[in-house]
Symmetry: C2
Subunit: 204 residues, 2 copies
DNA sequence: AAATATAATGAACAGTGTTTATTATTTCCA
DNA sequence: TGGAAATAATAAACACTGTTCATTATATTT
């Protein structure tokens, strides 16, 4: 009797429908502005039905983050073509900047928004971002091992590079960079310049 | 007739009461978790009364941010004691990290939260953060002018240093640094180390 | 003291995430 | 194959949210 299998498949399909609709709407309008009722409308089900597949909005966001991090990892991988580890890191960071600009709302819900750290991340692992982070870390480790950058501690090197890029992106996404009285249009250029400068600085 | 003056004074006092209650509650529980009704309860007024003094929650947040940025500027100023510009920048950044750790929710509502950029920052100036930013910028400019750091563009230098610190702080505040499998207790140490390393790196 | 302007509020509106009792559908077994 | 049991979907409600508005209370002015 393949009926339980079908049921499971149907359950998975329903979760897919929900998560797909959610992603599409989050990308278009941002996490905060999309309600469970909106998502329910979109997939033509009752709001309560969503709660048969996700215990709350946080759990749904967690799945959406999973998809988003996969998307990011693929995005980054496709842009790492060089052989030289330092050049690979450079490609990765520039790709990271581009991803953030292309999918602002996705970046927001992956790295800036508060939820669902409350419910999920407390005890359970936070493995969603692991792939993309590993991609960065391993290339940075190569750089450290080959003595290409002025770091001895690979973890601090990885975190520093990541924090540098994230700092720019998130200040920009929240318009805090406007404090510096920069014209809207030059910001991406300034960010690129700053990143290039940073990479040149850590180069031995 | 000093009656209109008194009225104005009373109006100002009321706004003070509101903003003070708001800050206290935001610091304790975070912006999102504090409702207008909560604030109204605290100051023993009806929720509707608050709307006689602030047109919406965003406008109130804007005032709270004003206070918070003032607090930050004072905090930073008190910690800048050195003569050497580079050392001054170092003191400033370390103080910035400490401020973020001491007033997490304040830092959140100043630099991470989305609102009130929607309503306020669109056309009006964003002068709340100007003081603290200027503090950093002027010291960084000194560094550049005296050839103490490997930057030629002061704006990029200022933004880079700020973004570096903010990147660490916000990744930590959102628990994203946990991706790096760091123990909770070592994070402040790692952040400090990373900042020190960064400053050592940009030093000529 | 009466009329007017100001301040404060109770009640409501439209929205949110979420739960529950009820209804519809499907699966199972006699 | 028909009726009981299990599953799936929903309508309605709950307790919130930010915000508005008609109404009431309090000052101020005439």
């Amino acid at each position: 009797m393949g009926i339980t299998e079908r049921k499971e498949r149907e359950k998975a399909e329903m979760r897919r429908r929900i998560v797909d609709a959610a992603i599409e709407m989050f990308v278009a309008e941002g996490y905060e502005k999309v309600s469970i009722r909106n998502i329910a409308d979109k997939i033509e089900y009752s709001p309560a039905t969503i709660y048969l597949y996700y215990k709350d909005k946080d759990e749904l966001l967690y799945d959406v983050q999973g998809e988003a991090f996969q998307k990011l990892a693929n995005y980054l991988r496709a842009r790492i073509t060089a052989e030289d580890p330092l050049e690979r890191v450079r490609q990765l960071i520039l790709a990271y900047l581009d991803f953030a600009r292309e999918y602002e709302e996705l970046y927001d819900l992956m790295f800036i928004i508060k939820a669902p750290m409350n419910s999920v991340q407390k005890d359970a692992e936070w493995d969603n971002g692991q792939d993309a982070f590993t991609l960065l870390r391993e290339n940075v480790i190569s750089c450290v091992e080959k003595g290409l950058i002025r770091f001895d501690n690979p973890m601090i090197a990885t975190l520093s590079i990541w924090a540098f890029a994230h700092g720019f992106i998130s200040l920009n996404l929240r318009c805090r960079i406007k404090i510096a009285e920069l014209g809207e249009e030059v910001i991406p250029i300034v960010m690129r310049q700053a990143v290039e400068h940073y990479l040149a600085t850590i180069k031995v």
